[in-house]
């Protein structure tokens, strides 16, 4: 399978100041989260993938080279910028239709898709209003409409939930997930909100000071996390621990009643309940030791020996 993004010693500098430093990696996730503190180079990386900046090294998007095939890449990409971006004195429908036409759609198809996209994103009633009069949430949706109207194979979203209230954020994330689960669309989600990334992405790239400091597959992390168990018990645990070790669990006893264990692939949580029942041990609390995205992020920040 062709990776969604491939970077090969990619560097970008502005006026001699390095912003992205020798980035190398291949990212194949359906939805890739770009995380990092302010100034880490997330937006610059996105803009580089769109061909906005001159680079050293190479970058490939959906197998196409950013330097030589930028027009083809832009056909395949939908981009939602971070800041307010719209054309003044233009209604929602005209804006979205024009952007669809600029993406190469014939005028009739562009009009039809503009209508259906605006309805789909909840702007159907407001589509004949000037975009300048839209609320912040509506503007975010209009930006998303502009990004998806031509049905791109890759959608790049830069802080899509910026300025949205709880309802708007939920709606936006639902739409992003729906697009992700549609036929063949990749999503690059750039956000400083870890929960947004956690809810939508299956792969995460963490940037700091222009470097990739961590890259992980959230799906496999989640699978791995399911095998880390924290437990509090009551009663005599000697027989319980012996039996648990016999079925292949790795154990760490923390005090009398607190246990941590790693389950092998073949063992399920219900096996622990069965052994506890047989050995007369009460399980008072059982929890997955969850290595959340926040833990991964903080570890990456600490590990990179810099400010979090």
């Amino acid at each position: 399978m062709i990776p969604a993004i491939e970077l090969d010693h990619l560097s970008v500098s502005f006026n001699g100041r390095p912003i992205l430093k020798d980035l190398t990696g291949a990212f194949s996730g359906r939805a890739i989260g770009l995380l990092g503190p302010n100034g880490a180079g997330k937006s610059t990386l996105i803009q580089t993938l769109l061909g906005f900046h001159a680079t050293r090294g190479s970058a490939r998007v959906l197998g196409m080279d950013v330097r030589t095939q930028i027009r083809e890449i832009r056909h395949a990409i939908g981009y939602m910028p971070e800041n307010d971006s719209f054309i003044t004195r233009m209604t929602g429908i005209r804006l979205v239709r024009m952007m669809a036409e600029l993406a190469g759609l014939p005028p009739a198809d562009a009009l039809e898709r503009a209508h259906e996209t605006l309805f789909h994103l909840g702007l159907g009633e407001a589509r004949y209003r000037d975009v300048g009069t839209y609320s912040l949430g509506m503007k975010q949706m209009a930006k998303l409409a502009v990004a998806v109207v031509h049905g791109p194979r890759m959608l790049i979203l830069d802080e899509p939930t910026n300025g949205l209230d709880a309802h708007g954020r939920k709606q936006m994330l639902e739409i992003i997930r729906e697009i992700r689960d549609s036929r063949n669309t990749h999503i690059i989600l750039c956000s400083h909100l870890l929960r947004d990334v956690e809810e939508c992405c299956d792969e995460v790239v963490i940037l700091k000071d222009g470097l990739i400091v961590s890259q992980c597959n959230l799906e496999s992390e989640r699978r791995t996390n399911r095998k880390f168990i924290q437990m509090e018990t009551r009663g005599e645990t000697h027989a319980f621990l012996t039996n648990v070790e016999q079925i292949g669990c790795e154990l760490a006893v923390n005090g009398n009643r607190r246990l941590k264990m790693i389950l092998p692939e073949t063992v399920e949580v219900r096996d622990l309940y069965r052994i506890a029942s047989e050995t007369g041990v009460q399980i008072r609390r059982l929890d997955y030791k969850r290595d959340s995205l926040q833990d991964i992020f903080l570890k990456a920040m600490e590990g990179s020996n810099g400010r979090p």
Partner: protein, 307 residues
């Protein structure tokens, strides 16, 4: 399925060829431009001088019709309205002045709102280049301005040919070329200057003011330089003299008398202007266009890099 019930779906349909995609920008811009009633009224009024001129040309070939209006008047011995290079030069000057006002009304609204509202990333994240963007915006002004300068004058040329016969058409074909090239040069020059000022001054009234300032302030400096240093090169800063010289060279008005006649037509206020060589005027026009393109190149970017 009804449009409002459809969810997200990819697009697998046909794509338009990229070659004419810049015209999309122009098409949408025309829609917006002609929503302003004041502009529409002024634009229509811009055709009045050429309408009068074409009526005069027509009447000069139908003296009997004219005589019926003024009963008792004696038919003139000479042609009433001689359609010569000077005639077209005079008309071109009037239309060029009007086109400056059209540019001031339309030009500032083309680029500056896109920069103010950060719209450029929307354009350039699509298969649409900076060159196509400038071409799209330029074509808006070019079409509007050509329609009030070269377009009607070429129609007058054709009207005169129809009235005077095919021999006149052949004998004066250089006039048609002069009208065509002269108006293209003028329209290109003023369009690029307007786009550059619109890109650098995001406040629309300031961009419109800058257009007039660029046309008239250097004239004062040039005149002052001419007076103080007792030379003629200061006229290179005089937009009227420069473009007038270019038109003179196209209409083959090179002799001193011709220049004086053309200067009177071009300079009805009677400012003292000195002739400049045609090559220097062409060079000046080329330089201004090049500088305008450079200024646009600096500003028309998807993202502004903060130093």
């Amino acid at each position: 399925m009804a449009v409002h019930r459809r969810g997200y779906r990819e697009y697998d349909g046909p794509r338009t060829p990229g070659r004419w995609r810049f015209w999309i920008l122009a098409r949408y811009a025309f829609g917006r431009v002609f929503r302003f009633r004041l502009l529409v009224i002024f634009y229509v009024l811009c055709f009045v001088p050429t309408l009068i001129a074409s009526s005069a040309v027509y009447l000069s070939h139908h003296v009997d019709l004219l005589m019926s209006l003024f009963q008792g008047a004696r038919p003139p011995d000479v042609e009433l309205v001689p359609v010569t290079a000077e005639f077209f030069l005079f008309l071109m000057t009037i239309q060029a002045v009007l086109s400056v006002f059209v540019t001031a009304l339309v030009g500032p609204g083309l680029v500056s709102p896109d920069l103010t509202n950060n719209a450029l990333p929307l354009y350039f994240s699509r298969p649409f280049s900076r060159v196509e963007y400038v071409l799209g915006k330029f074509s808006v002004l070019f079409v509007l301005l050509f329609l009030v300068t070269g377009g009607p004058m070429l129609l007058i040329y054709l009207l005169k040919s129809a009235l005077a016969g095919s021999q006149w058409f052949i004998d004066n074909i250089h006039l048609a070329f002069a009208i065509l090239i002269g108006s293209i040069v003028w329209v290109t020059l003023i369009s690029l200057v307007a786009l550059a000022s619109s890109a650098w001054l995001r406040w629309r009234p300031a961009a419109a003011g800058m257009l007039f300032a660029l046309l008239f302030f250097p004239t004062g400096f040039g005149q002052a330089a001419n007076e103080i240093m007792r030379m003629g090169w200061g006229s290179l800063l005089n937009a009227i003299v420069v473009i007038g010289t270019v038109w003179n060279s196209l209409f083959f008005i090179n002799d001193a008398e011709g220049y004086a006649r053309a200067a009177r037509a071009l300079n009805p206020m009677g400012f003292r202007t000195l002739p400049i060589p045609a090559w220097s005027a062409w060079l000046m026009v080329g330089s201004v266009c090049a500088v305008s393109l450079l200024l646009l190149n600096r500003k028309i970017r998807a993202y502004e890099v903060v130093r």
